[in-house]
Symmetry: C2
Subunit: 514 residues, 2 copies
Amino acid sequence: MANIGGGWLEAQNSRGEIGLVPEDYVEVRPWGTHRPFAAAGNAAPLDLSFFDTHALTPACNACLFLQSNGNDPWAVFDTNASGGFSNNWAAQPEGTETGRTGSSVWGSSAQGHPQAYQGPGADDDEWDDEWDDRKSSYTEGEAGEGGALNRGGQGEVGPVWEYPETQLDCVVADPKKGSKMYGLKSYIEYQVTPNTTNKPVNHRYKHFDWLYERLLDKFGSAIPIPCLPDKQVTGRFEEEFIKMRMERLQAWMSRMCRHPVISSSEVFQLFLTYKDEKDWKMGKRKAEKDETVGVMIFSTIEPEGVPDLDLLEVEQKCEQFSRFTKAMDDGVKDLLTVGQEHWKRCTGPLPKEYQRIGKAFQNLSSVFNSSGYEGEATLTDALTAAGKTYEEIAQMVAEQPRKDLHSLMETNNEYKGLLGCFPETIGVHKAAIEKVKEADKLVATSKITPAEKVTMAKRLSTMSYSLQAEMNHFHNHRIYDYNRVMQLYLEQQVKFYETIAEKLRHAHSQFTTM
Amino acid sequence: MANIGGGWLEAQNSRGEIGLVPEDYVEVRPWGTHRPFAAAGNAAPLDLSFFDTHALTPACNACLFLQSNGNDPWAVFDTNASGGFSNNWAAQPEGTETGRTGSSVWGSSAQGHPQAYQGPGADDDEWDDEWDDRKSSYTEGEAGEGGALNRGGQGEVGPVWEYPETQLDCVVADPKKGSKMYGLKSYIEYQVTPNTTNKPVNHRYKHFDWLYERLLDKFGSAIPIPCLPDKQVTGRFEEEFIKMRMERLQAWMSRMCRHPVISSSEVFQLFLTYKDEKDWKMGKRKAEKDETVGVMIFSTIEPEGVPDLDLLEVEQKCEQFSRFTKAMDDGVKDLLTVGQEHWKRCTGPLPKEYQRIGKAFQNLSSVFNSSGYEGEATLTDALTAAGKTYEEIAQMVAEQPRKDLHSLMETNNEYKGLLGCFPETIGVHKAAIEKVKEADKLVATSKITPAEKVTMAKRLSTMSYSLQAEMNHFHNHRIYDYNRVMQLYLEQQVKFYETIAEKLRHAHSQFTTM
């Protein structure tokens, strides 16, 4: 057992697995003031684990809620569901004897989800890395101060992440078929080139998936990590599929790059800038051993020079974000439904109808052409041209969704994915709020000390600052993304209608009644 | 019994009805050369009635064929149907003893249709009017010589009607509710103002219907007289219905005005220019006594300075017109079907979809507005504006068919009506052709004299010239009408797409990623 700092001890369980155990399970050692998430002394194991009600699984965050709360990922925010939550807690076995300690961070799991911790214990150096150097901090003030992505003159937005001076970005391109095992297994490899090194690295989909799971483990409690584009086994070498997957991986990577906490993380940097196969393998092993996962991420966050938030304010903020993300989730899904139907119509019945109009004009033209009447040519030529114009319009209509609706749908799909992560994140906060609400009773029944209560409130304040910073990050990017995608959509729509008008104007000019 | 000229005698039948009887039934008196349709001397009654196989009923011409030839009005042109036609002829009773004489023109009816003649016998003055003064004539040459409606530099088109220097036209407007029988019966009266007198006359729908029946009786064998807009009993005072009926009566009247033979007829002039109620009543009575109805119209037509056409040429022309009108009928019906479906989509699911897109944008805007994030206003305003734009587009889409598709549909509906008349007209010609083909056999069996055979061929030639003139009239107007309606349609389509593009351009300008 080794003290790795931050209130944690590295321990080996009965199955030989190495993991972190809260040192309170063994001895009392309060965190320093610069470590707001340090466990309070002498607290019961249950209390110390109070931020750990939602251990993360390597799956889409929203799914966790589907498992425990039926089909509605938002049901957990109902008062009843919240009650059920507490019951789970109450039923939770106490102490290290649960056999979960070895795979638990911030104590044992209340929900019975698989734990985030997966590999052998981290060494001290790595812990220090994560704890001392990789700390993010808040800055109170205008979003415009936050960094490269704070666009436009926004007013007071509250806590924001500290943004890097230069925004990281990368290009996912050039998908190539690779093979191993003497060609028995083949796969698609994408070239990923970050703007920092400008040196491409190769990654398969499963590498992206590995990265996704690392980010989810590490940041999922504080930052929504959207799912990767779906896995697909059949037809995965089809050109169209590869192109679409690449586009979505690009969007996913760009979003991760734009997040200051994620983009500066070691695992993300490894993914983008590993030097060679050996470097990659070593980095992978190290990342898999990372212990700063789950709610532990909050221990790396230190609000600087700001007062602790009181419970009411925290609760109000949390409620507001919850309501907003739920409402936006509904709005986005509605838009997606409408868009899908419009897509179907634009690629199905509508162009068929324009084609039939076009054919009807051309048919009439050839009938007229058979009249044997002199001086028919101008009309028949014009009718044929009009008919062909409507056939062209039919094709334009069918192709248009790819030009405009596509990006609108992709952006909204991305946001649907992001929004699906919020119930998890907000759930962690709500659980923490509930626990702090119980603090007086716990003090009264001597379950915790008054000092521990203060620490709990401090932690909650930090979590709230973190949530606010994340919401501000979300809002800021949302405003940019929706402005951008609406511009793209409307630009293409304008072009579409202008082109049709122009084509019809030309068709019109060929008819004459002089 | 009075000899009224033209090979006809006024006679009274056993029921006291007065009508025309071919004078050959009584005595031989050949027509002069200036009357090419005069009956040849000594011909058997059957032969003299050979152009009278299709007596006209006061119903849409196309319907007659539906009655006698199943559901396909074109079936009469099949070889079998044509054969059946001859059989009917063979079975036809000869002589005046059929009891049909009194109500027959050009002999007795072969088909058993109700006869055109309906009222008491005409007096001599009236007959002379019809016969001597109202004669139309051919001019061989360019359509441009024909009159005001010969538009554009068309080449040689063959026989054309003689067109008046000033084209008659009229305005149907100002529908007013009238009543009679102390308000027990109410009706709608339209004001019809011809460009010749510029004096409005009032007519109810039933007056138009009366005119239609007169024109059908009189000209239907040579000129397609399209049906009036449908009668409708329920809801006939609804504004929308009255407006639509007026529009269609206007279109019908304009088409009739544009036809040189119809527009110059006494009955048509009466309808447009009667001075008072007494004048109208007297004119009505006179028109109802008009005997120049059915195929008798051909006796008023005299091709001037042109050679007789041979059988082969007549047959070829007739076949060509038959094929063309059939093909155009198909083409027009196809376009109408396509147009109806497009109309449905434009007024049904499509605007609903645009509305839903608009609502989705506005919904997202109000969600964003609830974010509590500063600097959201530009995006939410822009999203709301974009949403409203799509709602406006929805309304535009729904209203558009009335602006463009409507006129295209109305014109094609008019042509569908016109084309429905051609099987009847062409049927008369085909029957005549068949009869002339039999002429050699009839001469060989002494059923007719060689001189009669020559007369029959002459008549057929005149009929063919008449059909050609009518087809040229049809083609000429068709070219104008389709050019015009396509211009209107495309003009409105261009405006529609331009307006949408402009609206979207404005919506686009409100988004910003600066």
